[in-house]
Symmetry: C2
Subunit: 330 residues, 2 copies
């Protein structure tokens, strides 16, 4: 008997990764193409489709593909579009599902990459059995996926869960965001955000740090994490400030939807205590008493290498199992 | 044939109002008792029960009571409790549903007063047919009820929707909140909040205003509203500031759950343009482009005199119609 599989695609700012997975989340094949190098969406999709086609050919006669799930920044499940993403090379509204129809007759489901991660966490990760939780993805930007009463929150227009673009305080902030506004949470809390914080702190603090020998362009978040682990005061302060901003806004998340747990996912989350301790401290500090000590702040249980693809592929199973045909654009 | 009715009770900081209503939301009887005068919950409930019993006696033989719905600040649907309310005379955890059992065998459903208002808006008001919306109640404090995918969001512990206790900015604020913290949204956006803003503005501005002849204790929000309508600059500025704070935090609400509409309910909302215009302006200013111009900011369609009671009574029908027995504490 042929094995039922789904194709999961994670479109990121730098690379696009895909996988062919069974219902248990096992990868039968995977691959990637660079996103950045393709300034035209049609060329990008043709290249991606060609790669996937080769992978499928190698599995020939052994599988039935049930659908394609795509996670992308500003992906919209209602319309199958990517809309005004600040992180991708394609501007405006991209009718992704429709464009994909040129290549396939399969159902194509498009959503926000963080929503895909939340579905993945629910089906394969630490949120199994939970009805109310939130996943925060910390990559180049900050994404979020909310699950309420066991269902992903898409909202009226399909754009729920943009925690990265809530702002830190009323009025002007110095931090410009790729979205065109200022002071968005992701300008503080993301791989890019902590780098910006570190550079501001290097302007304020006189402590020695090997990071003072690295340019803005060369620095990345894991260098900050490594330095902090070796006791670098500026790097530690940068994590503290990042956790302070995240904890502050997570307290709002709790007041809105009162989740059982909040999962942190992605590069920064792997810094563990460095990010979890200040985040937990400032979240608790900002919580109303009825919530204090009750909301779990957890590391995602999905392997971060594959999680976005796993989540995207899980969209297909989630859709089939919920019989939610209206959310499938063909 | 006897008419099926439910009893709706709205426990407010000042008064507790109840109504006996049919499924169409018609009041067959109503009444109230002062909340503040009863420092002991048992005495309060005995007095309330006695009043309701008399109302029921007058309707004798014509009705069947299906249940009792109670909206109260910090009301918890899972446990039937009121927990640590800053607005009521009873401190700590009050096992409201259990205490009510002394008087009745009917199902008793307890929730947050703003959640009750949201259910009322969905069943009888402007949110009929909407699947994703938020109701903001502006009274002595600020409450909120979130509806996602057609269901009220209670969250894991039953305390979702405490927008009034999200904070305006990270770090210290001057405004003390009844909840023991500082800078909560309701210290700015509520009948009390706008009064506090007005008094701070009277310290800053040299414009003449008849409100300068009124003490803090004597001033109320409708006096500020009346003054603003007559062009009082300080009062107008107070509304502007109130709308700025509300709009700022509503932008977060949109980024979290992407509702179709946000309803404003209660005294301050009746100031119409005075509050709606700045709120809409600052909400739009803080929205990510994908949301701009899409979220309706509407005046509640429930008559504010009766709305909280209507909402509380609607809890009973909502429960019966969803067959959601687990949410009924007997």
């Amino acid at each position: 008997m042929k094995k039922k599989v789904s194709i999961g695609i994670d479109i990121g700012g730098t690379n696009t990764i895909y996988g062919i997975l069974d219902r248990e989340g096992n990868f039968l094949a995977q691959g990637q193409i660079p996103t950045k190098d393709h300034q035209e969406i049609e060329v990008f999709l043709a290249a991606l489709n060609e790669k996937i086609r080769l992978s499928l050919r190698n599995l020939n006669n052994r599988i039935i593909v049930e659908g394609i799930g795509i996670g992308a920044p500003m992906g919209n499940i209602n319309k199958g579009t990517i809309e005004y993403s600040a992180d991708l090379p394609w501007k405006g509204i991209i009718p992704l599902a429709d464009l994909f129809k040129e290549f396939t007759n399969l159902p194509v489901i498009v959503t926000n990459d963080a929503n895909a991660a939340a579905i993945g966490e629910m089906i394969y990760g630490g949120a199994k059995g939970m009805k109310n939780f939130v996943v925060i993805t910390l990559g180049t930007g900050l994404g979020s996926g909310f699950v309420v009463n066991g269902e992903l929150v898409y909202g009226h227009d399909g754009f729920a869960g943009e925690l990265g673009h809530t702002t830190i305080r009323p009025g002007e902030s110095n931090r410009q965001c790729g979205c065109g506004r200022k002071g968005c949470l992701e300008t503080y809390v993301s791989a890019t955000g902590i780098k910006r914080t570190l550079f501001k702190l290097m302007g304020d603090m006189i402590d020695d740090s090997p990071l003072k020998g690295v340019s803005f362009n060369d620095l990345n978040a894991s260098m900050i994490s490594d330095a902090a682990k070796e006791g670098d005061k500026i790097a530690i302060r940068a994590f503290e400030h990042t956790g302070r901003m995240l904890g502050f806004k997570l307290a709002d998340v709790v007041a809105h939807t009162n989740p059982e747990a909040i999962f942190l996912f992605g590069g920064l989350a792997l810094a563990k205590d460095l990010i979890f301790e200040p985040t937990r401290k400032y979240m608790e500090e900002n919580l109303l008493s009825v919530y204090k000590g009750k909301v779990k702040l957890l590391l995602s249980k999905l392997n971060s290498q594959n999680a976005a693809v796993l989540g995207a592929s899980a969209l297909v199973w989630n859709n089939i199992e919920n019989g939610d045909a209206k959310k499938i654009s063909i």
